[in-house]
């Protein structure tokens, strides 16, 4: 391990969320805490000839309230989410980018599907009308780097930029990548991801995964860890967090919401969920070791919750291997069952949720789920009050990535750190 690793764990000082169950943490947290179910028929896909009909859609989001008109025309919906979430996170952190030294404040986002709706419109113009009908913004709206670029420009962030497309698990890996910049002297990073995969062509692409729920009933469409688990409900949305160098955050008197204490990542093969138990186990053990902690320190787990029978079983097995006999007693939860799985943004939303859970001392429930087919303490019904010091967030990608992130309460003694 690098000598710079000890005692300098990055801290979260701001959270911005654009989710199907709420815009901003003021709406998002009560909805998550109360297990509000935000899955519904997909309004953006009318008509919808596809077998997937229920999803987590961000409703009530008007770009005009968040994004300059000049930028709206040159960006896809996923970038609108990222810009809005970045704005919320900066406000939550009470951090004015202009007050940070030039080159010391950057942005990193995770991605999965990019600006597909914008892309479908332009590619339609090309094939319907000819090449000269493709507009100038196609070159900057569709690609995966659109969010990092626009957030950098929109907020004057001249520090490091980055974009990881590492499956759903990339939503956790991006915190490690940003941590790498902070360790090397950068003061602050906006970290997050956004997805908007509900145009017809994006849906057409996702169907091939064979992992999406085809249930037409929002109340039962996404049932991870139950006997009825039959795929996940896809979702759109995004989240951005302000992550700062701990010393810099303290010097400016920032309110520290959580400590990003450790990260681990492994790969166990495309669609080899049977092997992901070992992968998740090693990722989690690595994250805890980096945090200077042991599995006994874990107070709650935010689950990947693929809602595929094999994948769920592997995740339960990973927890059994990691936590031993405590596996049946440590509260575990999948709040995303209430609003869907938004690919790379799903794990970022879980990090946001974990930060809020630490702050409130509450483990939110898994909405819509009434039983658990594994010997796990899956929190269902109401949120559970727990004196949370250390939480583990797990994420797994459909192409084989397994990642884990350890977050700690700001008042916990820091023993390790990314």
């Amino acid at each position: 391990m690098s000598p710079a690793r000890t005692g300098s764990a990055p801290v979260v000082t701001g959270v911005g969320v654009i989710a199907p169950n709420g815009l901003g943490v003021g709406e998002f947290w009560p909805a998550v805490r109360d297990g509000h179910l935000a899955l519904a028929p997909i309004g953006r896909l009318e008509p919808n000839p596809y077998p997937v009909t229920v999803a987590g859609e961000v409703t009530g989001f008007e770009p005009a309230g968040w994004v300059e008109p000049r930028i709206t025309v040159q960006t896809d919906r996923f970038t609108h989410f990222a810009l809005a979430a970045a704005d919320l996170a900066l406000r939550d952190a009470a951090l004015d980018p202009a007050a940070v030294e030039p080159f010391e404040f950057g942005v990193m986002t995770a991605g999965y599907s990019g600006g597909v709706e914008f892309g479908q419109r332009e590619i339609e113009r090309l094939w319907r009308h000819g090449p000269e009908h493709v507009g100038p913004y196609q070159s900057i709206a569709w690609f995966y780097a659109a969010c990092s670029g626009q957030v950098s420009i929109g907020n004057g962030l001249r520090g490091p930029s980055g974009v990881l497309v590492a499956d759903e698990a990339g939503g956790l890996d991006i915190f490690a990548a940003a941590g790498g910049e902070l360790r090397r002297g950068v003061r602050a990073m906006l970290v997050g991801g956004a997805e908007a995969p509900f145009c017809p062509y994006a849906m057409c692409c996702q169907l091939g995964l064979g992992l999406l729920s085809t249930s037409g009933d929002p109340a039962t469409a996404y049932q991870p860890f139950t006997k009825r688990a039959g795929g996940f409900a896809p979702a759109e949305g995004g989240a951005m967090l302000v992550v700062e160098n701990a010393g810099a955050a303290h010097r400016r008197g920032a309110t520290v919401q959580a400590v990003v204490a450790g990260h681990g990542a492994t790969y166990t093969g495309r669609r080899r969920f049977d092997r992901s138990a070992q992968g998740l186990l090693r990722a989690a053990a690595g994250a805890l070791a980096e945090a200077g902690l042991t599995p006994d320190d874990v107070d709650a787990v935010f689950l990947d919750a693929m809602a595929d029978p094999l994948a769920d079983a592997a995740e339960a097995e990973a927890l059994r291997l990691l936590l031993g006999e405590r596996a049946s007693r440590v509260p575990v939860t999948a709040p995303k069952a209430g609003y869907g799985r938004s690919y790379s943004a799903a794990a970022v939303l879980d990090v946001a949720t974990a930060v809020l859970a630490l702050e409130h001392g509450l483990v939110p429930p898994t909405p819509g789920v009434r039983e658990c087919r594994f010997d796990l303490d899956l929190v269902i019904g109401a949120a559970r009050p727990v004196d949370l010091r250390t939480v583990l967030v797990l994420s797994r990608g459909v192409y084989g990535g397994n990642s884990a992130l350890v977050l700690r309460h700001p008042e916990s003694p820091i023993s390790g750190g990314m």
Partner: protein
């Protein structure tokens, strides 16, 4: 092909392509550049492309943000 665009029409076209609110009055103001209006090079390329496709502006026409909407107006056929 409709080639007759009034300053107001052109302003509306620019607004639609670039997201920047522009008025007909601003179009005819000789001292105002696209930079002043907040229309950047990408936006201007979109405007030019539409004028070339729909309004008979020459394929070779070029315009930069330091130039004025009045100069763009002059590129329209019949307005030299």
């Amino acid at each position: 092909m409709d080639t007759r665009l009034s300053p107001d029409d052109l302003a509306a076209l620019i607004s639609r392509c670039t997201g920047v609110p522009v008025t007909g009055e601003q179009i005819t103001d000789p001292d105002r550049t696209f930079d002043d209006l907040g229309v950047d090079s990408l936006g201007l390329m979109g405007v030019l492309a539409e004028l070339q496709r729909e309004h008979g502006v020459s394929k070779n026409a070029d315009l930069r943000p330091h130039q004025s909407p009045r100069e763009l107006l002059a590129l329209l056929p019949g307005r030299a």
